[in-house]
Amino acid sequence: MERIIYREIPANRGVWQLAILLGAFIAAAAGAVLFIEHHGHIVTGMNNQIVWGLPHVFAIFLIVAASGALNVASIASVFGKTPYKPLARLSALLALALLAGGLAVLVLDLGRPDRLIVAMTKYNFRSIFAWNIYLYTGFFAVVGVYLAVQMTRNVSASLVHAAGTLAFIWRLALTTGTGSIFGWLVARSAYDAAIMAPLFIVMSFALGLAVFVLVVTGVCRLTGRPFGPKLLTRLGSLLGVFVAALLYFTAVQHLSNLYVAEHAGIERFILRDGGIFTNLFWVGQILIGGIIPMIMVFHPTGRFKPASTIIASVLVIIGGLAQLYVIVIGGQAFPLEIFPGYESSSSFFDGVINVYKPSYLEFALGIGGVALSLMITGLGLKTLRILPRSLSDANVNL
């Protein structure tokens, strides 16, 4: 067993190729943003019915995954699990990078992104959106300090513990804020539920860990650094627990709504009659993103295979995107209940299921946010001593 030695990753051929690929996606996103800004949102699939589209799905995915990616560091610093300590720096870096990517997508999809300075200087403190601006910027500061104390020599363990605890509490607050964006929307039957905040927190646990697993194993593979199979399958078991919790919260969300007669319409829509949304819910979120990954990481035949954890992580990410699509788009597709007891129709699409066809521009913007997050992570790994030279099981005391 050697000591844990953190080193910058080398710029080998694979790293360069990946950087160029990510750069191309970022450039495509920049082009899409300029095109949308020039022509207006008319060139996207969004409209006055579906006002938040695919960019919001990606942005919320990245923001939720950001706070979840910090879990590994929290488990090490706050809950004292030593095998995770060598992963803590990357966990914090990835959290910062994912948040930056998510916010970039969110901001660039504004009708007036040029007025970002207005959003930073004028606050309405009754708005959870305005609170989130503080939660996001605070997250950068708190996790930045946490990363810095981890990387500074001769810093006492108690200081790292304190910084880690603050970051952990902050991330819970941040995801509460993200969930409350929907939870506090009284107008729409798909939202307006206190469970949205804890649901988003559990979602962040699963999505953040899945992204972390793929990034850390990908970087180790790309740079030839060992990653212990035991450590990986241990992360896989944790992922399974998070996915189980996410399924539980999803079940409570829908069962509670089914009990309330006024919410029967939206539940019938999502669970039975919603076409693409129903398919995404049952096949995407529940089967691909929930049941299959749980079987992969818990069933005795796959439990100790590293590939199970990696494939399960991919499936959890697919399921997470499906879940967010159902929440964000599905919730808007269902018409507002302005006149209970009546069938309504108008020139403004009252009473009809709203249609949304995302454009390639929105897809490019969303994927660009993912690429930006990965690029920032890569630059951090290249320039800072984030990742240990070896994450073999022996090295992390497993």
């Binding site: 949102h41 009708g111 007025r115 009284v186």
Partner: protein, 252 residues
Amino acid sequence: MNLPSISMAKKPSEMSRRDFLRSGAAASTIVIASGVTLMAYGGDASAKGADANKRWGLLIDVNKCASNCTACVSACSKENGWEDTGHPETDAQWIRKVDLKEKSTGHELSLPVMCQHCESAPCIDVCPTGASFKRADGIVLVDKHTCIGCRYCMMACPYKARSFIHEKLENQKKHAPRGKGTVESCTLCVHRIDAGGTPACVEACNKTGHGAMIFGDLNDPASEISIALTKYPSVALRDDLGLNPGVRYQNL
């Protein structure tokens, strides 16, 4: 390539330095006198400002509203400059006629829906920059200078009263400035009200002879609207949300 000189590029309609300073004076008026809102229609210094003793509202008698009549919609469109551009999904609609059919009885009716000018407006609560705001006299507006186009107000409005401007606009009305990338909705014809008039939709409804809309001060017990509200039952849309809208409906 010959580039036009600055003097050539300048149009007669552009602001002179004096105009700019004048508009600055108007802006400072906003700060000095709280409750005075000039931004809503371009900082016209001649506005007297909102009267906190009033609360403007509408009463719509659904029995008098003819299902095939869209006079209120046409009048609003003409007055405020929003129109059908052939993109129904993205076109703005400040007011619309909604046709209703009661599920259990089949009874049909028709009524106009616009911004309900809520006392506790969800759009104002959720707006991160405070661009959605309520004047002292209860009129809910969007400050076009601070709207960042996040569309959270559109998610929050229970009445689908707001529209996002999806494309470039031309030939806007001076009293109803609109901008690509921002959100807008019924202003209750605030420019008319401040000049002592009534909203265009109400005027048009009266002209047709239907007389389905009454506009007035809800705080004044002697106003026509208050008397009608006291005399006959009325409802607010989504009354369960407790938003206390300024628009109420009779015979719904």
